[in-house]
Amino acid sequence: MALLEVKNLEVTFGLRQGAVKALRDVSFSIERGERIGIVGESGAGKSVAAFSILNLISRPGYISGGEVLFEGKDLTKLSPQEMRDIRGNRIAMIFQDPMMTLNPVLTLGQQMVECLKAHRKISTAEAREVALEKLRLVHIPSPETRIDQYPHELSGGMRQRIIIAIALLLDPPLIIADEPTTALDVTIQAEIMELLLELCDSQNVGLILITHDLGVVSQVTQKAVVMYAGRVIEQGPTKEIINDAQHPYTQGLINALPQQTLPGKRLNQIPGSMPSLQKIPTGCAFHPRCEFVIEPCSRELPGFTRSGGCSVACHMVKAMKEKAAAAG
């Protein structure tokens, strides 16, 4: 059984102009110790997907369909109290900007101890010991002094280390990291990512990595889920997706990587931009930006076609597979 299985998840935002579906029919799964990447441009629904796993979408958004099966339980059906027992305890989250994530008026120790005390019967002194141990794990120098300091006394990289330490406090089987290095200095991005991966490996933690950076995904994850306009459009083993992307959108993302361009040439880009959720094009949401549009694209929502280890939602890919099958 998978550690986490998201099935046909649908998230709706009840706006004044009418209900808007931010997530439609999103399915993926992750095993313990596995690392998957969720990729897409801004607005693709990556973060909504991450937050909806923990049922943390703020109003007016809500989960309007589907299941989130975690250790056999459907998280969408839990009471607020039961959900609170999962958050931070069984599934931890790492947020994007470490400068904004920690509460500025509480010491690091307070913010670590409270998390332990919320989930375990433990004395403050014991909780502090656990916190110190985790701070050592993330290589914070002189944790005994650091623990009584306030967030503003630490650099961004340090703070993200603290947040990784908080994520590991209760030894959760799953960590969701929402762009964990985007807000950091380029020089420490790699360092923090390495630390995160190393710890996930040594503690056998599953990692859902949300990012717009295909480069990172290709280096660190085993599986990749590509999202566009609230839907999964392609998913499968990362190697296959990077080396042989099927969906024109994934191909576009890969071509847009700076490494794919010769020095001195303009960087490649996908023409147009992500549609607003209120005005999602009919059929395949990507068809107005796609260079391989065929007849059903603007009319009919593409289903998933298997291609190697991947599944792809694209009419063009499906047509080509059928042609190849007919020919062969």
Binding site: R87, G88, A92, F95, M100, T101, E114, H152, E153
Partner: protein, 326 residues
């Protein structure tokens, strides 16, 4: 901390200098103190002689320097009406005013925090909407009207609460006679305190609500939810502590303003405090008393603001009072 206090003290000296200059300079524009001081029968020559004696004919600067010199020795002049040192007259009335301000501040803190927090957490509930609606009314209605209406309702019609005076007092310390120690004194405090609070309370409810709503949207509150903390801890520790930072700053200024507002409240309720005294002094053109009042209120402003800044430094760890690099 000490460095902060010393710096503050130096600022206070400048502030007090400016206040004294301004308050002293308005005294020439308040009317002729002699008219109130002496009767109709006194001749013009005698009036001139008295003016000379009081130094009222000297140039402004000479008068001011004389006043400032005396003020530095704790002498703010002698009240024309009471024939006593103006500072003593005011300090005698200070406890009554401070008790009024204290009661109103207590009411504001005890009501604005829970109401503001609740209406931020549940902005769409009918209760929050009612609170917001009433607060608009509260801001709009002048304290004069609130006071008179409350006297009409609670004293005249319902006969529940006394409408004027301080009631029975009990000595507390340093000759301070307090109304907080007797039942009668407390009953007398209710209406004046609520009237005084009625101006600031809506402001604080709205301020706390607006700040809290902003804080609840912040990343660190979202993160606190993601850590699985209890809603109580998130609302009342993580969010409220950040909410209170700007509220404390505004509160410091408003407490000083409230001391000034007591002029209206004390007049309506015949409250024997500084504000009532000030209004009487204006009617009697008792200029030394007026000037002394303005200086005392100015000093209260300076002190409360310093105390508030100290509290702010304690609550907000990113503020370094000493200005030292950590």
């Amino acid at each position: 901390m000490i460095a902060f206090l010393i710096r503050r003290l130096m600022q206070a000296v400048v502030v007090m200098f400016v206040i004294s200059l301004i308050s002293f300079s308005i005294q020439d524009n308040l009317g002729d103190p002699l008219r109130e001081l002496v009767g109709q029968s006194v001749s013009e020559e005698e009036r001139q002689a008295l003016r000379d004696e009081l130094g009222l004919n000297d140039p402004f600067l000479v008068q001011y320097v004389r006043f400032a010199g005396n003020a530095l020795q704790g002498d703010l002049g002698t009240s024309y009406f009471f024939k006593e040192p103006a500072l003593d007259v005011i300090l005698k009335k200070l406890p009554a005013t401070l008790e009024l301000v204290f009661g109103a501040t207590l009411i504001i803190i005890l009501l604005s925090v829970p109401l503001g927090v609740y209406s931020a957490i549940k902005p769409h509930s009918w209760f929050s909407k009612t609170v917001m609606g009433l607060s608009i009314v509260g801001i709009s209605v002048p304290v004069f009207l609130t006071a008179i209406m409350s006297i009409f309702l609670f004293s005249v019609e319902l006969n529940w609460l006394p409408s004027y005076g301080r009631g029975e007092l009990e000595p507390m310390f340093w000759g301070w006679e307090s109304g907080y120690l007797t039942r009668d004194g407390l009953l007398h405090l209710v209406l004046p305190c609520f009237s005084l609070a009625s101006i600031m309370l809506p402001l604080f409810i709205r301020l706390i609500r607006a700040e809290m709503m902003e804080v609840l949207q912040s990343e660190y509150v979202k993160y606190a939810w993601a850590k699985g903390l209890s809603p109580m801890r998130i609302y009342f520790l993580h969010a409220l502590k950040n909410t209170m930072l700007p509220v404390i700053t505004v509160g410091g200024v408003q407490i000083g303003t409230m001391v000034a507002y007591t002029i209206l409240t004390e007049t309506v309720f015949q409250w024997p405090g500084m504000g009532f005294l000030f209004l009487e002094a204006v009617n009697r053109v008792d200029t030394p008393l007026i000037v002394a009042y303005l200086i005392v209120v100015g000093a209260i402003f300076v002190v409360t603001n310093t105390v508030v800044d100290l509290i702010y430094g304690l609550v907000n760890p990113t503020v370094n009072l000493t200005g030292k690099k950590s």
